[in-house]
Assembly symmetry: C2
Homo-oligomer: 419 residues x 2
């Protein structure tokens, strides 16, 4: 299938590059080759790290009958609406990451698309497959609520304010320097970006056709250290939360900062990461966590939609691959596994024992990272230690030798460390 990419910026360039870089696995999963053939840009002279043909003429792409899928990654609202509309009229499948477009035009676009695929996974929470979960994974449920942390800029700022006591204006300047916040940050810190995403989720969960103007949107601009102190005092965190909630036959859709208990899983989503908690009447709470932005993470979701479109008509292959995996992967034998290890040894508490034990490790090239010795009853002691990375075979041999050593009184216990 041939793909035209409208907008070869942060996300568009990643889409073109990943389709090439990961062609092996993507083809094995899609069952067909997915070829990015042309990209639309404003400025042909800009330096970009992509190898597809570029054009400034959108009609060159839309009129190319060999192109099956249009990926809209331009940004904006009215221009992409017009272009996507034309693409659908020509029967081309469309994929977009454009939440603003959908916040305003999702129902018109649904009508225009009809049976033509129109997908938008990346528009909400970037790389997290939340549309997938909500639209396909939780279909058995009436959705009771959705609570999301869906703006990385705000979450980064609030996390810093809470953990480091920095004030709003200082952290905003820092976020701007790091590229986490725009020069005009209103769209993020004012809650509008999150609201666009919420409206999309509100449609999938409840079929609610609302626009940003219709719902409660507040930003994080007024949060001060005093509020964070109060929150901490009562075990609350402060988050910019998007909330969709069913109360009887009415649906609340709102975006605003909240105080939320630190015990809730969604409150543990920190920094630039996104998280979405969904409560279904049958499944209970499920939560989805991951990167909400970034070229590659967002492109991951865009490409999942492209693969989905390539699979239309036949469904996903049972074990994920149409043909073989594409790479030649084999199971690693157990003894080759490399990790760090924690060991608990019960030893005799007398001179020379530590040296004996240490020698056994040294013989196998196992180096110790941390160690605690604790006296036990009857002249024994616990030696609790962790190793640097070593090989499963070596640790097993060392354990065998330790077990056979008289100064080690019980069978040693080993637990691996996952770093």
């Amino acid at each position: 299938m041939r793909i035209g990419i409208l907008g070869v910026g942060t996300v568009g360039a990643s889409v073109a590059n990943i389709l090439k870089d990961n062609k092996d696995i993507i083809t094995a999963r899609a069952g067909v080759e997915l070829e990015p053939v042309i990209g639309l840009v404003n400025n042909l002279n800009k330096e970009r790290n992509v190898s597809i043909k570029l054009t400034t003429d959108v009609d060159e792409i839309l009129n190319d009958e060999s192109i099956d899928i249009i990926v809209e990654l331009m940004g904006g609202i009215e221009k992409p609406y017009e272009v996507v509309k034309k693409a659908l009229e020509k029967g081309k499948a469309v994929v977009t990451a454009n939440k603003a477009l959908l916040a305003y035009h999702r129902y018109e676009l649904q009508d225009l698309a009809g049976d033509t695929p129109f997908e938008y996974e990346a528009a909400v929470a970037g790389g997290i497959p939340i549309i997938n979960a909500l639209r396909d994974g939780l279909t058995a449920n009436h959705i009771e609520s959705i609570r999301g942390i869906m703006n990385g800029t705000c979450n980064y700022m609030l996390t810093k304010m809470i953990n480091e006591g920095v004030d709003y204006h200082t952290i905003l300047a820092e976020a701007q320097e790091l590229g986490y916040a725009e020069a005009d940050p209103t769209f993020d810190v004012g809650g509008f970006d999150a609201a666009h995403k919420l409206l999309i989720l509100g449609s999938i969960a409840y079929g609610i056709d609302a626009k940003p103007e219709d719902i409660l949107i507040e930003g994080i601009e007024n949060i001060a250290p005093a509020d964070i102190d109060f929150a901490s005092e009562f075990n609350y965190s402060i988050k910019l939360l998007t909330i969709a909630k069913k109360v009887g036959t009415k649906i609340e859709l709102r975006v605003h900062p909240v105080l939320i208990s630190n015990d809730e899983m969604i409150a543990k989503v920190d920094g630039v990461m996104n998280g979405v908690s969904v409560i279904g009447d049958k499944v209970g709470e499920t939560m989805y966590y991951g990167p909400g932005a970034g070229g590659d993470a967002t492109a991951s979701a865009v490409i999942a939609n492209i693969v989905d479109i390539a699979r239309r008509g036949k469904g996903s292959p049972m074990l994920g691959f149409e043909s073989s995996h594409g790479e030649n992967l084999t199971l690693m034998p157990k003894e080759e596994i490399q990790t760090k290890y924690y060991l608990r040894l019960k030893i005799e508490d007398k001179a020379g024992v530590l040296a004996k034990v240490s020698n056994i490790f040294a013989d196998k090239n196992i180096s110790i990272e941390k160690m605690i010795q604790k006296p036990l009853k009857n002249n024994c002691a616990h030696l609790l230690l962790s190793t640097h990375t070593c090989i499963e075979k070596d640790i097993n041999e060392a354990l065998k030798t330790l077990e056979d050593t008289s100064v080690v009184t019980d069978k040693p216990v080993m637990i691996r460390i996952e770093d």
Copy 2:
């Protein structure tokens, strides 16, 4: 579409009941009615809370040409393998929650199924749509690793051991009493249940055809308070982790307890809950969290598969619904929202001010839950307080009145509390 349910136990009964209870939304999402018509059981005399016809004769179901989908929820390995095979030979789509069956026979079943749908979302991590995420949501990625907490019994026990200092045998007895652990707990605490799930994920991520006997499986039986002390000392938690990891062209598949940093999102998955963290080469880390067992939660995943099968050939509807939503839901006006509120008031620090402020709240029937007063410079103070649940309209009116009151010196700040 007509559905036969083989096994009407914990999960099977939930499937039958949810298909009836949530028929409105399921039909609106699937675009077709999904009718559970008959169930297979061992014992017709057992009391069960289902309204479908029951039989003990599996052939009565398999030979019924009006049945489109067979849902296998019997448990076991060879018997369901034989039955599912027959169903596929008759061209019936199959849905199962049986991880043991798949741990041993997934590749034979894939071959047998061919183009006939065969789905198994509930077999891994119960209600969490993790198969969906991995097979459809992350297709752009080479999977670098999957780390899962996929056995609720073990996670419940470890969480209790860590948080309450209970020892292994005490907590096992308690888990058995609560029904979280079986009379013979080996399958759970020995890591075998988690291993079955891991093998399924290993296929979807890496195309690895391994059996339980081929991989490293260790249980939690040897974990003692001394290990938990060591772990806590160095900011580790202890979890039974399932790990699939790519190292060069070799794939590690292993299940064992680990020490894992408390800072990792997956380490925050506590109690009976499950969580799966996936690292893709492009998207980075995404994590999926939710209930790994229970009749309704597991049935939620089974039904998602049934809906998926009903949608085959046409894909999921763009905004989630084939027709309208089924229920008549409307957007709640902003002023009707009910929640708790936190308020920051800057007040003059003198006698009578608190009474004045309190009266304003009382007039609007707003009752205060918590309050902190903190002196500021220039004879001012911060009044930080939270309310019990009240109505947005009332709080807004109170805020307006407060703002106009001379003893309140700055515009009050309000943040909602999400409980």
